[in-house]
Symmetry: C2
Subunit: 370 residues, 2 copies
């Protein structure tokens, strides 16, 4: 094993990404690079300001390296051991995750080939997806043909690490982050039978944890954790997006008999529980249905997709509910409530795309112009 | 039988109501009164302008009588034989149809009692609902206890006539109506076994028809006609409202595999066909599913509820889909697609009510303030 400091590249410099980069930086176990994009100039000069419930007021912070773009990072002749993706995951948008990380996968391949000492180390490109949803690893697996990489001796392997983060952190201005909820990161191998990924997930936690400040722990089964988070996201998050309202209003504007709760949200949640059992033999506790409905019953709160649609931003519909519905269909399991939520959101995503100029609709021929 | 000219009162002076009033007026079979509301002053002076595909350019037209409000009509000491309601039917809004017609039901009762000659004629207040939806007569039946009126000798009976109009007519300015689609009115007794209502429906058609210009015909079974119209309205109209888009975009923004059509619209339509059969033993032809989807596939068109939500107006959700879902529930028939459309629309109706100041939401206590 090399004793060289691992190189981490964080892609996505929003509320989550900057705190993630700072946590790795503070730990001192790795060299931290951040793709800062539109904040690059300010980040390079004055640095970041974090108002963090975990780390206090942090002023003028800079990671070890800053890049303006993923392409710039790819040109740096660095082998990035960890490619940590904290962007939204929108495969139906202009920048699916596979296209975001492609320059780094390819530059790592090149750097590895050029440096003889690396070959002996059997380097691995470890992709850590700190993102919502389920089956998000499949896009990467297919695009980069990970199966053949595993057998190859001419390109580095790619290990896929699942990161699920509970955090409330928002970018409130250029290079300004307000973190209001404690950071709790759960890491797992997407493939729990892949020893390299399991080891990498554990290593990443040791690079990430700052005892007494943030929390990170290893998760032996990310499918359970992801299904559990979907219980909330596929039902409540999706509904608030369709309605463009906080969930409390969605609940209260239902009929007196509780139509929102009993005709939409709970049936959709029970479909998730049913799917987790039938597809993965995973038991999601039914009590969680009450828990998730109750925590937001009295708190006027709009989850991520509801916020996205209000801001006119594309939503993570494919990873949060599209993959679920496709999976159900492949297994011949009926999920009428999730399916309706998904298929309506699909239309609304099209509406957002047209508003953002990502899609042009030809009214005369009633067709989307490619 | 009296040879006296029947008195018709039209409530609702929008695109449909004004053409309806004009059709009755031109027929010369009745005395036509119109509740003009905000257009009253202009209507009383310069009158209406109709640009009509049935009647050509009609300038400075006035009905026999104009009223500013239903209350003013009720104060006129007239017994209105026909109370023709062409407003939207929104029982969950501030003016359900029963409250709109209440002053006339009551003033007719009073006029009838005061005039001895009327008693001998066994006068009937004929309520003609030219409106969308199904089960819309029940609200009237219950509010005015029509069953006991039928046995009474101290109040006039109330007959309920179903009017279903195919017309494309819009109020484009104060007292200005543009009628682009030919008027085709279908009348029936809501209760096909009630002889008085059947006779009245037929009489109304003879007062309404202007041969060679408009079309009106008697319908022996309004349930068939209403279920058939719901096939379109409960599925396509509701979906465009949820999405705030024309139906063509709803279709095209679905996935490549036609998700809007095959996962939302057609399943919802098949639920309507199933309900009509099971509840009323009425066969709605399955071919109509293709017909309704196909007519709007290439035509960028937003149906009424989609227009309402874009304008911030309350939608006819209860009569178009709420009654359907309640009926299904009462008969223990599963209608998951219609139920989702309805329960989402219920939330959006609450959002519209809050926007219009018809509902106040107390965020602190997470409650609707009554």
């Amino acid at each position: 094993m090399s004793t060289q400091t691992p190189q981490c590249l964080i892609i996505g410099a929003g509320g989550v990404g900057v705190v993630t980069a700072y946590s790795l930086f503070l730990n001192k176990g790795s060299t931290v690079s951040l793709v800062a994009r539109s904040d690059y100039d300010k980040a390079s000069t004055t640095g970041y300001k974090l108002s963090s419930c975990d780390y206090g007021e942090v002023l003028n912070w800079k990671p070890h390296h800053l890049f303006r773009s993923v392409e710039d990072a790819a040109s740096s002749k660095t082998f990035f051991d960890y490619v940590v993706v904290t962007t939204k995951n929108i495969p139906d948008g202009p920048t699916p995750v596979s296209s975001i990380i492609k320059p780094i996968i390819e530059s790592n391949d090149k750097v590895w080939k050029e440096r003889a000492d690396f070959k002996e180390q059997k380097k691995t490109t470890n992709v850590v997806l700190i993102q919502n949803g389920i089956d998000i690893e499949n896009e990467i697996k297919e695009k980069f043909d990970l199966a053949s990489r595993q057998k190859s001796t001419t390109v580095p392997q790619v290990a896929l690490i699942s990161g699920i983060q509970l955090i409330s952190s928002t970018k409130v201005g250029p290079c300004e982050i307000a973190q209001k909820g404690h950071d709790h990161l759960t890491c797992a191998a997407f493939d729990k039978n892949d020893e390299i990924s399991v080891k990498t997930a554990q290593n990443f936690i040791s690079l990430y944890t700052n005892p007494g400040q943030n929390q990170a722990h290893f998760d032996s089964n990310c499918r359970y954790t992801r299904w559990k988070k979907l219980l909330y996201n596929s039902s409540i998050n999706t509904l608030t997006a369709i309605c463009g309202l906080d969930f409390t209003r969605c609940l209260q504007f239902g009929t007196a008999e509780g139509s929102t709760e009993f005709e939409i949200v709970r049936p959709a949640m029970l479909e998730i529980i049913d799917l987790a059992k039938k597809i993965d033999d995973i038991t999601i506790e039914v009590d969680l249905v009450d828990f998730f409905v109750d925590i937001t019953r009295k708190m006027v709160y709009t989850p991520s997709m509801g916020v996205d649609i209000q801001k006119g931003q594309l939503m993570e519909i494919e990873v949060i509910v599209g993959n679920v519905v496709r999976s159900a269909k492949a297994h011949h399991i009926e999920v009428p409530h999730l399916s309706m939520l998904y298929n309506i959101l699909k239309i609304l995503q099209g509406k957002l795309k047209e508003q953002r100029g990502l899609l042009k609709f030809d009214e005369l021929n009633a067709k989307i112009v490619e």
